[in-house]
Symmetry: C2
Amino acid sequence: MAHQHISKTLTVKSLGIDTYREHIIYMRSDCHICLSEGFSALTRVVVSLKESQIIATLNVVTSDLLQEHEAALSNMALKRLNAKAGDLIAITHLKQIESLSDVRAKMYHKKIDDVAYRRIINDLTRGLYSDIEIAAFIAACAGDNLDLDEIISLTKAMIDSGSRLKWDEKIILDKHSIGGLPGNRTTPIVVAIVAAAGLTIPKTSSRAITSPAGTSDTMETMTTVDLSVERLKEVVTKEGGCLAWGGSVNLSPADDILIRVEKALDIDSTGQMIASVLSKKAAAGSTHVVIEIPVGDTAKVRTQDEAIKLQYYFKAVGDAIKLNVVILITDGTQPIGKGIGPSLEAMDILSVLRNQNDAPADLKEKSLIISGALLELSGKIELGKGVTKAKQILESGQAYVKFQNICIAQGGFKEPKFARYKKDIKSETAGTVIGIDNRKLAKIAKLAGAPHSPSAGIYFNSPIGTKIEIGQILYTIYSEAEGELQYTVDYLNSISQIIKIV
Amino acid sequence: MAHQHISKTLTVKSLGIDTYREHIIYMRSDCHICLSEGFSALTRVVVSLKESQIIATLNVVTSDLLQEHEAALSNMALKRLNAKAGDLIAITHLKQIESLSDVRAKMYHKKIDDVAYRRIINDLTRGLYSDIEIAAFIAACAGDNLDLDEIISLTKAMIDSGSRLKWDEKIILDKHSIGGLPGNRTTPIVVAIVAAAGLTIPKTSSRAITSPAGTSDTMETMTTVDLSVERLKEVVTKEGGCLAWGGSVNLSPADDILIRVEKALDIDSTGQMIASVLSKKAAAGSTHVVIEIPVGDTAKVRTQDEAIKLQYYFKAVGDAIKLNVVILITDGTQPIGKGIGPSLEAMDILSVLRNQNDAPADLKEKSLIISGALLELSGKIELGKGVTKAKQILESGQAYVKFQNICIAQGGFKEPKFARYKKDIKSETAGTVIGIDNRKLAKIAKLAGAPHSPSAGIYFNSPIGTKIEIGQILYTIYSEAEGELQYTVDYLNSISQIIKIV
């Protein structure tokens, strides 16, 4: 960055304050730089140390916490700048960020072009945006505010914002399920089956956005998911597949920045979702992708029409970036499996892979449908015979062996655990389950601590159609902290029923 | 707030950190509350001390800055909670904020109703929203995304969010000028003329949003603007008018919260602008209002069509809340007066009120037009004779006496000052000025430090039509800090010309 003139320096002090991703610099209100540069609380400044630069927000210190020649940095800022106590840092004005005028145009519902999206995503990736600027961009793109051209521009900009994996094989498979359906954790089973079939599926997943668990949160209860690009390539070369966290391999890093704020706002807009999903697939080097869209009253996608609109966008954007996309529209009326939350979902996955009698039939069935579609899409298995082949690989135990080998290649396998505190929720009426509010169920699992407490969540016993007696356990809430469990139960007592029994 | 259960307490420590309006609580990562409640960095929590409660964002401390039983609060949080070192505070979970689902609906371009706006504004005023949530609401309302019903709902909700002044007089006058035109500081002159005519004009103004000075910033260089409701009433009862800061009398407090984030995002949307302006007028107890809309290529309102659309909304919303609104569409092609920035604009105002020979004719003329419209709107002066009457009051010196008396009643009068550092910008060509980029001019005044440095800004010598010689001073930049002046000059050298000379 050549657009600042560097004036004066301060000595770094570490206060040990964790402000998460937003970088904070602490400076005395009477320090010579604040005075001469006219900085005040919340000014955004450029902090430089040798060749490194970050943007930080100023918090002014009005006490003796710092001496006059000192400045402190938040933990993440220290790390990003590679600074330690005693280093000399320079603090200068931040130049106007030109791409923010593109964000403003988008807020005013104008269509913006390829160049504008590239500028926005580039500045975002360089850490130039504050959290409120990111929030404004997300809100401006929410709803149906991006047309097809814009989604394509955003997707391309996001692909180019990070590294891109290259593979020798001609066909690289991938899958994605639209969220909103608790416990819908088919990915580890699908990767195991497809890799056991001799195909290549270098799967990277995200952590939870607005749900109680993402695939990476779940996998992390069984193995290491934080792999470098080199380690990921080794695992895939050896086993044909992997189950890694996408964030650690710097694929579409802009997406990770956007997702953090989307999570805080609890929204997920159409255009950004499509760009997010497809940019990660393209950056991972995939060529053929199956995308599952569960549809249900309380799933993320609520109607068949909405699913068909998404299908259109996914296929059109896929065409534009040379990705072969197949859509599966599935039943999203109730949770899949029994566990909701990282460890509890991992237990379901293992029971399916181990062909246990108590394995959830719905999780198994859906995993086979997706695996079948991938086997057929690869051209290796004849159309119409994919599911049968997938079933044979799973039931023969080949998929479980492959899953174990992938975990071992990633750093070792461990069994997921139950949380320390639990509370059974029992039925006060008798009858048959006729409906489930997935959103509230997911919310309860989150209040109980999932995903930040990996073993927290819900073990669910009452799918639609279950006959229920008075006093029968509908589900069990697990939590790692007593306070969270109590708070969750308090919340539960304050809302209308989650499971409809008549 | 009855919706949290209070569990445990920590001892308050003051670290003296100013984070501006967002409240921050600092807690050790290994403190018993963090552990038992599952709190982590950026969790939003409820902090309670006796009967007071605030919402704060958690920054986790990983060092010995705090002892295990201690928590620190940012300066503003300490003040709002009325807490001091040694007090025992309780920290509990923040319950889901229900009105955020209304914000999400708005992000998805849905029309939301009276009840929804009331809910949002109520929660906003109670301090329940984080900065990114406020940013999302602002972005969702930007552009033309609010229809007339929604603007009326938002305006009513904002009026009800704070206190409302009551007056004995039947006719209470007020004025407002849409921003974007540097130096357009007619208000103090208008208030002096109208009050001198024996009418009532309890004027409250804002500080700058995206401009180099607001009326309150300018008035603050001459007198006290931070008046309590009681003091404001005293001043108006005695003098017929006042020139106070709206923020200190708690009129439409939701607006102050929104404006702070709008300022950081550098946007000002139609619906929110109308609600902001009219809610302040209604809350101030006004009955008759003149609103000036300057139109020009680089003013906030760029076309006549846009001004006429605004006129429609202002009048329609005015009708709905029983406010008699008159619109004046004026020429906004160039700055008004010579000063841009609080002190420099104050000097222009004084020169007009003092009837000096060098007083800017444009500022005087526009002040007379607005004053004339108000005199006629009051019914006290016949239609068509307002400007003549206003001119007589100004030129006779009655307006200056009234202005002095208002300042004295508010706490005393002082002369505005020039800043310590200055730089003359000279012309490199000869010719005639044919155009001025108001936005860039305003930006330069801001870079130089206005409004946070009151005497910073621009003294402008080259209105449209001025004959210019090579080497002639086009304008002078003033700054209170050497660094800011240098940075402003650097910026100036990096952009295309601001004043077009042919």
